[in-house]
């Protein structure tokens, strides 16, 4: 190998079997994306069933047993629908390309967040040291997609929806970032695996207990960040019809939909990893049931994955439960909560966490 004229050295040494490594990474991405898509499909089914039962009705039950094929049917329907692209008005400078790109941007931004989510200790696509920051950054990127969609739709309702959405996401991003600072301080890391491992040092194995204030702020801002009830103002059905994606149809609409649900899943994953102890069972359980320690590694890994998924599903259930229960906030009220309640609460949480960490 020739020495670099600029005395440049790679920050890491490329492995010898680089093809295999890339193949494995691609395989992981494929698994993750496929799993995410399937999860989105069945999230909708789960949501409709849960909310259906909460609302004294049955939910989907026509396509397949228990309506299990309903999401597939919906997907096929959306795929074959006409893709209507509004023609910009006379003198309008709006580009159709923006209209077309916007849903892709939303989907890519949310899908990429999955790259740093470890399902169990050994399964992740990228184990980067700033995983938490990366997810926060990408969730901000998806805002651009929403603004682009609202602007390029050339529709007043879509425009209002995207304005609301951008204002809402920007305000709640602050609260969300601050709510996670407590976790970062306790774990001393932004890496999800380190955060989960740090939680295993306490008997309950969850930051939910010391960081309940942070969790509350995180949960509320996660609802706002993913445009879910009671903060679903950007797509408030009764006011803005559908908000920023009112002009979208067919597969492009489905991409927004996928993006929204993947964002929900990602937020649930973050909540589980940062507050609910990730894939770990409470360490006290190992004390009470010593037999758990003797399980073979493969079984342990399997249990970890199941625990993680169960926690994520329970978190998603929380989303649906809230949606079935609460009315919708008004725009100004939402902003007021973000700036005057959540951000101060998150700051208080940071100060308390810092004091506790410093003195104990």
């Amino acid at each position: 190998m020739n020495p670099s004229p600029y005395n440049f050295t790679w920050p890491f040494s490329p492995p010898d079997n680089i093809v295999l490594v890339i193949a494995i990474i691609l395989g992981k991405i494929l698994v993750m994306v496929a799993a995410a898509m399937l999860h989105v499909a069945y999230c909708t089914w789960f949501e409709r069933k849960i909310i259906g039962h909460m609302q004294v009705r049955i939910g989907p039950n026509r396509v397949g047993p228990f309506g299990l094929l309903q999401p597939i049917a919906d997907g096929i329907k959306l795929f074959f629908k006409e893709d209507v692209i509004p023609r910009p008005g006379v003198g309008s400078t709006k580009f159709r390309i923006v209209f077309k790109v916007a849903p892709l941007l939303v989907l890519f931004a949310t899908l990429s967040s999955l790259a740093v989510v470890p399902v169990f200790e050994a399964f992740y696509i990228a184990n980067i040291n700033i995983g938490l920051l990366y997810i926060l950054a990408l969730s901000a990127v998806s805002t651009y997609g929403i603004i682009m969609a609202g602007w390029a739709s050339d529709s007043k309702y879509a425009f209002l929806g995207s304005l609301r959405s951008s204002a809402q996401l920007i305000s709640y991003e602050v609260a969300m970032g601050l709510s996670l600072v407590g976790v970062m301080m306790l774990a001393g890391s932004l890496n999800f695996i380190d955060i989960v491992k740090a939680q295993q040092t306490s008997w309950h194995g969850m930051y939910l207990i010391p960081q309940f204030l942070g969790y509350f702020v995180f949960m509320v801002s996660a609802l706002a960040e993913t445009n879910r009830a009671p903060f679903d103002l950007p797509e408030a059905e009764s006011e803005l019809v559908a908000g920023y994606f009112v002009e979208y149809s067919g597969m492009r609409f489905a991409l927004f939909f996928l993006g929204e649900y993947i964002a929900m899943i990602v937020m649930s994953c973050v909540a589980v990893l940062c507050f609910w102890g990730g894939w770990g069972l409470p360490p006290v359980l190992y004390k009470v049931v010593p037999a758990l320690n003797d399980l073979p590694q493969s079984v342990k890994t399997f249990v970890e994955a199941v625990v993680f998924l169960c926690k994520v599903y329970s978190h998603l259930f929380l989303y649906y439960w809230i949606r079935a229960t609460l009315p919708r906030y008004r725009y100004d009220q939402l902003m007021r909560i973000g700036w005057t309640v959540l951000i101060p609460l998150a700051l208080v949480n940071i100060v308390i966490t810092a004091l506790v960490k410093y003195f104990f």
Binding site: I51, M54, Q55, V56, R57, K156, Y157, F159, L160, R164, A229, P230, D232, L233, A236, E237, S238, E239, L240, V241, R323, A324, T325, L326, P327, R328, Y329, R330, Y331, D332, Q333
Partner: protein, 402 residues
């Protein structure tokens, strides 16, 4: 500021809310001028559901107009029928048997419950509380089943008749109705548990759409929309019809004149309606349900006799024979009779020329009057308040546009 920027003018964003919009309760169209989220100007446009009910009425005999009134406020058709029948009875001087009066009162109050259920459902859905919608539809279904049991129809019932009701109710209906009013108050509590003390519901409804008692009267508001401002006006008390003078009930009033108080008024009316139905079922007298002398569908279109002579039935054969006795030229008389339908005061104004058809029929529709107050309620508020205000005045466009 560059000259280029100085040329840029700021102006309001005009958006067209409706006539196809999920929250405008049918085909109401509002043109909103927005400054950001703030409503600067709100202009309602009505008439998208105009079917010419009043004009159609002029070409039909009095009994034939009855089915048209079902289609006014299709959410509470029974109340419109009763309002129409009460008005025509007073015009033609037809008496109603006691039993029919009580049955009508029961039906009117069931309709009030059914209407307020739809109001609650849509109002809550507009504000984002989806579950209330489905909970309340469950109870409305039971009321529609009661209608079905009484007359076979569910939505456009045409059950009351001029001079009574079409058919008697049986014990099965009374039992089902009793069961319903026994369980219904617990369901009202259920709705209240969901939203009554909910912080989001409170901030969305308290202090929104405030209209003082004086202004509310000046705008012509009636029904719970008026009573939310604390005005104790209810046609059932002020000018009792049917069996209301024999029934003991209260009129719930609001104090803060806002969306929340109007919501509370209607929630209390649920309980008062249950109280009225219970008393009616207890006091239900026997006897006929339809005055045998009442005009039927074969009522002649020709000159109609005044009710005073000993042979009042304007039967098909009799009318032409008596026609020459009438003085030359039509004899005009007019009459306005109002009843308290769930949405407010529904009035029928007739100009009669002495024939079996109304010369002119006018419907004083509460929805129409209430839609006119929307600019007063919405201007200065936010877009989301427009939705709350449309919900609180409880309009149905079928009645508004007629």
């Amino acid at each position: 500021m560059s000259p280029h920027l100085r040329r840029l003018a700021t102006k309001e964003l005009t958006i067209n809310m409706g006539p196809q919009h999920p929250a405008t309760h049918g085909v109401l169209r509002l043109v909103l001028d927005l400054d950001g989220e703030k409503v600067i100007k709100c202009t309602p446009y009505v008439g998208y559901l105009h079917r010419g009910t009043e004009k159609l009425g002029e070409n039909r005999t009095y009994p034939m107009v009855l089915p048209l009134t079902d289609r006014l406020d299709y959410v509470s058709s029974m109340a419109n029928n009763i309002g129409y029948c009460v008005a025509v009875e007073r015009l033609l001087g037809v008496s109603v048997p006691e039993r029919a009066k009580f049955i009508r009162t029961i039906m009117a109050e069931l309709t009030r419950i059914a209407n307020h259920i739809v109001w609650l459902a849509t109002h809550a859905l507009d504000i984002g509380a989806m579950t209330v919608f489905l909970y309340s539809m469950r109870e409305r279904e039971k009321i529609l089943e009661l209608y079905e049991m009484a007359c076979g129809a569910r939505l456009t019932v045409t059950y009351p008749r001029i001079g009574g009701v079409r058919c008697d109710i049986n014990q099965e209906f009374i039992d089902a109705c009793t069961a319903f009013i026994n369980e219904f108050p617990s369901h009202v509590e259920e709705y209240e548990r969901l939203i009554d003390q909910n912080r989001i519901w409170l901030v969305r409804t308290k202090g929104i759409g405030v209209i003082s008692a004086e202004e509310a009267i000046n705008w012509g508001l009636t029904g719970p929309t008026l009573r939310g401002s604390g005005v104790p006006y209810d046609v059932r008390k002020c000018a009792p019809y049917d069996a209301y003078d024999q029934i003991d009930f209260d009129i719930p009033l609001g104090t803060n004149c806002d969306v929340y108080d109007r919501y509370r008024c209607r929630m209390e009316e649920f309980r008062q309606s249950v109280r009225i139905i219970r008393q009616c079922l207890e006091k239900l007298p026997g006897g006929l349900v339809l005055n045998p002398d009442a005009p039927g569908y074969d009522m002649a279109a020709g000159p109609r006799k005044k009710p005073a002579p000993p042979a009042p039935p304007p039967a098909a054969g009799a009318a032409p024979a008596e026609a020459p006795a009438a003085p030359a030229g039509p004899q005009f008389e007019d009459l306005y009779v109002a009843t308290e339908v769930p949405k407010g005061e529904l009035g029928f104004y007739f100009v009669s020329d002495g024939t079996g058809k109304p010369y002119r029929m006018h419907v004083r529709a509460p929805s129409f009057v209430h839609a006119s107050v929307l600019p007063r309620l919405c201007e200065g508020g936010l877009v989301a308040d427009v939705i709350a205000n449309i919900g609180t005045i409880d309009i149905v466009l079928g009645e508004c546009d007629r």
